[in-house]
Symmetry: C2
Subunit: 452 residues, 2 copies
Amino acid sequence: MRFEITREYIDELRIKIEEKNQKDALSLIVNLYPADIAEIYNELNIDEAKFLYLLLDKEKASDVLIELEEDDRERFLKVLPSDLIAKQFINEMDSDDAADIIGELPEKKQEEVLSHIEDFSLAGDIVDLLNYDENSAGGLMAKELIAVNENWSLLYSLKEMRKQAEKIDELFYVYVVNDDNILNGTLSLKRLLLAQSAKLISEIVNYKVISVKTDTSSEEVANIMKKYDLVALPVLDGIGRLVGRITIDDVIDVIKEEAEKDYQMISGISEDVEPNDSVFLLTRARLPWLLIGMIGGIFGAEAMSNYKNDLAENASLALFIPLIAAMAGNVGVQSSSIVVQGLANQTIYLGSTFKKVMKEIAVALSNGLICSSLIFIYNLIFSDSFALTLTVSISLFIVILFASTFGTFVPMALNRLKIDPAVATGPFITTVNDIIGLIIYLTIGRILFGIF
Amino acid sequence: MRFEITREYIDELRIKIEEKNQKDALSLIVNLYPADIAEIYNELNIDEAKFLYLLLDKEKASDVLIELEEDDRERFLKVLPSDLIAKQFINEMDSDDAADIIGELPEKKQEEVLSHIEDFSLAGDIVDLLNYDENSAGGLMAKELIAVNENWSLLYSLKEMRKQAEKIDELFYVYVVNDDNILNGTLSLKRLLLAQSAKLISEIVNYKVISVKTDTSSEEVANIMKKYDLVALPVLDGIGRLVGRITIDDVIDVIKEEAEKDYQMISGISEDVEPNDSVFLLTRARLPWLLIGMIGGIFGAEAMSNYKNDLAENASLALFIPLIAAMAGNVGVQSSSIVVQGLANQTIYLGSTFKKVMKEIAVALSNGLICSSLIFIYNLIFSDSFALTLTVSISLFIVILFASTFGTFVPMALNRLKIDPAVATGPFITTVNDIIGLIIYLTIGRILFGIF
């Protein structure tokens, strides 16, 4: 029932395309869902993709276009003339998808495409939507929705709803407005189904409705829909008039992007890249953090050069440099990522930063005690230098304590300063913890090798 | 319109609870959504929470229970007798929520609670659902749904749907089955609204329907719903009979958990923890990776001890150990995380592992060239040892090349072996790259210091 792309399938399709066999090529894709066809497009070159596109009916072709990866879509639209884009695709789309796609075009082409849209009210909706920030409720919403007046009878409303429903793909809620288009409530389809047809709208409306403003951030929209388990969310303008609605499928993308952004930060990648992107893009996304790491390494070398004599006299001290650095880095990443995830999930509730840091210190104390005891026992057995044994365990304990505290404190401070705390999770925290950890280690080493 | 917890609000509520002022306490929470009340519970102790609970009506109380964090719920249910749990909460729930909550109880209490459920068919549904794996479609689905027979008239169906709708919270699709309860299609509510009441179901049904089996993994369920933008997904048994449906809100949790799992792996945390968890839990979640990092560090020290004389003779060699180790780690994490994210998003399509590794090598070549040139220039200016200058740049280049290849190859290989590739992103890949990177560095150092 579901479709899976195979190498054989793609090969067969390519042969049909090469033969310019429209009938057979179409029969291979005609029963697939748009999302499946979009996946196939990733395996084809631009000419093959274009050939297939012209075989699809307008509605399916636009659905496929929406499902394509942004890069693929851009490449594809670049080779198409503006009037074809308007007539073949945009006319068939919901306003939110249409605005997203037009928003991706260069400015000159945007105007051209808009001028070729036949449905004047759709063109107006798109222009309205393009004004909103991409990362706000206004940027996520579609204008198409079903609204009824609270003073209407249910019977009249049903007639109106039938008219309005022709314009929209899916229907989850009916919005209830007053004469000024102010949102007053919702009608779930279940209520509609259960209601006796004699009643007035005002008798079955649910007046308790969660809504957002056009300028609510998309992150907050996602949090609200997730928290209250909503599949659709009405969007209001500054004075409470209903201007659009956001559906859950758009918000799932936001949720995924948020998670990916944090993941990229912690892995030291500064742009949204995929394994299929170009070598240039992949290099550019990775270089910034590598350079930061390298500059950190240079600072580390400078700091350590003060201990060059100690290292020359006691070369065994150098052997544990990687262990200390790695532990400092790992502990720092652990601590900062717990904070970042807690902030993202909003599981860090009220309560002072101080309390959180104290708890982190307690965790660090126990982890530090366990790790440094183990390395103490190891070195006691295998190392012939008691000074080294003592230096490694004591400094490991202090380094774990410091790195945890620092790793907890920095993202919390960034969050207070309204900076994305995820910045603190990647190579930055590792690098700083590395350097400070090594200074701690070598200082303790100098003292203890002086004593023993 | 929306609610935000403040310290003042909580203080006021606590005072009312302390005064045993039921009326005022209830008035503070009665207009809130269950998800908001659940958030308030996180700020209260168990006695305060219990006091509030008994003020709520049954339906709201069970909704709040569903919204609580798992730990809080467990603690709360522990102090309640089984018959109260059944009568106060479970009776009011959908089968999927009821099964989830009963599944969290100790086995003995499960049986007790089940025996106290008044609605025999709900008890049966719960027992059925408890048999499915938590991480499968069967474990996610609810039994409550609206289904009509394809041979019914629309009018008769509407009557039947009204009866069935009383049992469910939200309604998105009506499922169409044949006499054997085999799923044949769906009816969107939009179609129902647009249909003339005279027609037969078979005339307006959409026969193209995406479904899953009870044993489909929850990860695949999430991918399907995301890919095809579904808000509800029917679940079939082995022979195609309709047994339940999954709604998007349950799947959002799965999507979030998947993302969190990968995030935890890369940050070296081995259990699902939150900043509010106990010190013991937080310690336990972090210790395993720290120990692996430490064992790696010990191996590193052993490997480096072969170069102890080189380090003693040329102590400046030790200064760049942290830089080489950090770069090896960072590059490895970058490479592996791009692969892991690509696999999770299914943006790694067909095409051989070989091609991906070749591309990664190209990226590594350019990053390696840039970084090692820069460090070469730096050392040329600031270092008085040409041997060191050459050693650091050449080995940095080789280390970046190796760490990228290794970081790409390992998660791809794990994925082939059906092991979660995210295992390769955390401290594991960093540690291995650290050790191998340092051996490369010190070996090249020994050679070059021998020559110059």
